[in-house]
């Protein structure tokens, strides 16, 4: 049996990660972990080695940009695809640029489960 894809949701909004995890697990094909704190998230990336990371941008202490640079700086982790899932950009902005802004993949909040699933299927190995 094929291993379920491991998805790590990093966002400081517990209600959002809780609800998105419910949706993705209901789909049946994903193994989902959530982290609401940037530093703990880095530890989870290292120990769990997810297939794709959804990463919020604005978080207290350590923000999404810093989390992403630390992952990219680690040779064992740098291949993991990262999708910024955030409210700081608008949906139009993301769609106009074909999901990629400054070389990074973006999804704008609020986001449908279908968009999230499509993104996983597009980028997760």
């Amino acid at each position: 049996m094929e291993r379920k894809k491991r998805i790590l949701l990093i966002d400081d909004e517990p209600a959002f990660t809780r609800l998105m995890k419910l949706n993705l697990e209901a789909n049946g094909t994903y193994d989902v972990q959530v982290e609401n704190d940037g530093r703990k998230a880095l530890a989870a990336v290292r120990s769990w080695q997810p297939d794709l990371i959804f990463l919020d941008v604005i978080m207290p202490d350590i923000d999404g940009g810093q989390v992403a640079s630390e992952i990219r700086a680690d040779p064992r982790l740098k291949a993991i695809p990262i999708v910024f899932l955030t409210a700081v950009v608008s949906k139009n902005e993301v769609v106009e640029r074909g999901d990629v802004i400054g070389g990074q993949v973006f999804l704008a909040k609020p986001v449908t489960v279908a968009d999230v699933v499509q993104t996983i299927e597009k980028f997760a190995a």
Binding site: D12, E13, A15, F16, R18, L19, M20, L22, N23, A26, I58, M59, P60, D61, D63, A87, V88, A108, K109, P110, V111, T112, V113
Partner: protein
């Protein structure tokens, strides 16, 4: 006939010489500074004392036998002649004012009395004239009248100035409120991006929650849906509170102070600036005093002050840091900034106030900036980031509440802005 008169005069002189009390009386008349003149019924001057010489500048020998009316200024002579005639037929006239003429030509204000002179049998034989030079008094009266007129004019001018002052004060207050509103709309623009973020996050939760519920197979168990519905409900409340906060903040234009919960106002300001703080990696440390009574506040205006101070603190800590917000009740003392003893001082020694201190851990304020920090349009922020109105307007708002803002660099580094508000309306 002539012999009779002579005999009578001689008798009178002898009587006078004999009667020591009459001699004294004559001495008093002579020493009196007022003019004392005796005339015959026809008005001819018969006796003339030293006072009369003093008042009219005429020695006795130049007036004796002339008509007393010659001493009166031309314009008043007719009236005087009438009164003199009345006195000569027995009707006294006491203390009337008339205008005399001095020998040197100048006019003399006179207070005068005319009395009939009678024999012991009651026959009027002449008129006694007593005149006092009241020119100095008249001048003083005139001056007093001029002074009074000037006072009346000045009072009218003062009233007018007061009215103009009131009008310009009203105008100033209106302008201040317009400026406050302009600065507020400026900060609304600044807050809008953060507010959009704060609304999109709950929207993302609502969308994720509803999609999950819609995806649940028909007839599946309701208990699993309950926590999802709770999350959705909380997200709706959160988005609604953010939008309501921004609309309330943007809308109020008049100053409307009511007893309010100071800590709730601080929390609302923190809610609207949450995005700026989170993205700037600013930790908030709240140290609120217990037992804070309701404080007279225009909630939305004071919120504007707190938002300005929070945004400034965030900008002052580009690499992140800690913003400590401390509230305290205090009785002012002489060492406090801008506190005095005078009635006109906005805050006075001994007054009960509450302090709301915003302390950042940034670089502090350079001494040359410290004195300009409340000047309108003064800003150290890059072009487009600040209009330089925030602190100027904040101070105006606090002043409209009868308070002030203290600014200082903290010994441990960073700046501290303290909003001083009255505990009760004055």
């Amino acid at each position: 006939m002539l012999e009779d008169q002579l005999a009578s005069s001689l008798k009178s002189v002898r009587d006078t010489a004999r009667d020591p009390s009459l001699a004294k009386l004559a001495a008093i008349v002579e020493a009196c500074p007022e003019a004392m003149i005796a005339c015959g019924s026809d008005g001819r001057v018969e006796t003339w004392n030293a006072g009369a010489t003093q008042v009219f500048g005429l020695p006795a020998d130049r007036i004796m036998g002339r008509n007393v009316s010659d001493l009166i200024a031309e314009g008043c002579r007719e009236e005087f002649a009438r009164l003199l005639h009345e006195a000569s037929v027995g009707m006294a006239r006491m203390l009337f004012r008339t205008l005399g003429q001095h020998d040197d030509g100048r006019f003399i204000d006179l207070s005068m009395s005319l009395s009939p002179l009678r024999t012991p049998e009651g026959t009027v034989t002449g008129v006694g004239v007593v005149a006092r030079d009241v020119s100095a008094l008249r001048r003083a009266e005139d001056e007093a009248e001029i002074g009074r007129q000037e006072l009346v004019e000045r009072e009218a001018a003062l009233q007018q100035a007061l009215l103009a002052l009131r009008t310009s004060h009203e105008e100033l207050k209106r302008t201040q409120l317009q400026l406050i509103q302009a600065a507020k709309l400026d900060s609304v623009g600044r807050l809008a991006a953060g507010v959009a973020h704060e609304v999109k996050n709950p929207l993302a939760m609502i969308l994720a929650g509803t999609e999950y519920l819609l995806g649940m197979p028909a007839g599946s168990n309701a208990p699993a849906a309950e926590p999802v519905l709770r999350d959705i409900r909380a997200a709706v409340d959160r988005a609604s509170a953010v939008i309501k906060g921004l609309l309330n903040y943007a809308s109020s234009t008049e100053l409307d102070a009511k007893p309010s919960d100071l800590h709730a106002v601080i929390d609302q300001a923190l809610g609207l600036t949450q995005h700026a703080m989170k993205s700037g990696h600013i930790h908030i440390q709240k140290e609120f005093a217990s037992g804070m009574p309701p404080i007279p506040l225009d909630v939305h205006k004071i919120q504007q002050v707190f938002i300005n101070l929070v945004i400034n603190a965030v900008d002052a800590m580009p690499a992140g840091g800690t913003l400590t917000i401390r509230t305290q009740r205090k009785q002012l003392n002489a060492g406090d900034q801008s506190v005095g003893h005078r009635r006109t001082d906005p805050l006075r020694v001994g007054e009960s106030v509450v302090l709301v201190a915003f302390e950042d851990s940034g670089a502090g304020i350079t001494p040359e900036h410290l004195s300009h920090i409340f000047d309108p349009f003064f800003t150290t922020k890059p072009t487009g980031k600040g209009t330089g109105l925030g602190l100027a307007v904040s101070r105006t708002i606090v002043a409209l509440h009868g308070g002030t803002i203290w600014v200082a660099n903290r010994p441990e580094g960073g700046a501290s802005f303290t909003v001083v508000l009255r505990s009760a309306t004055k």
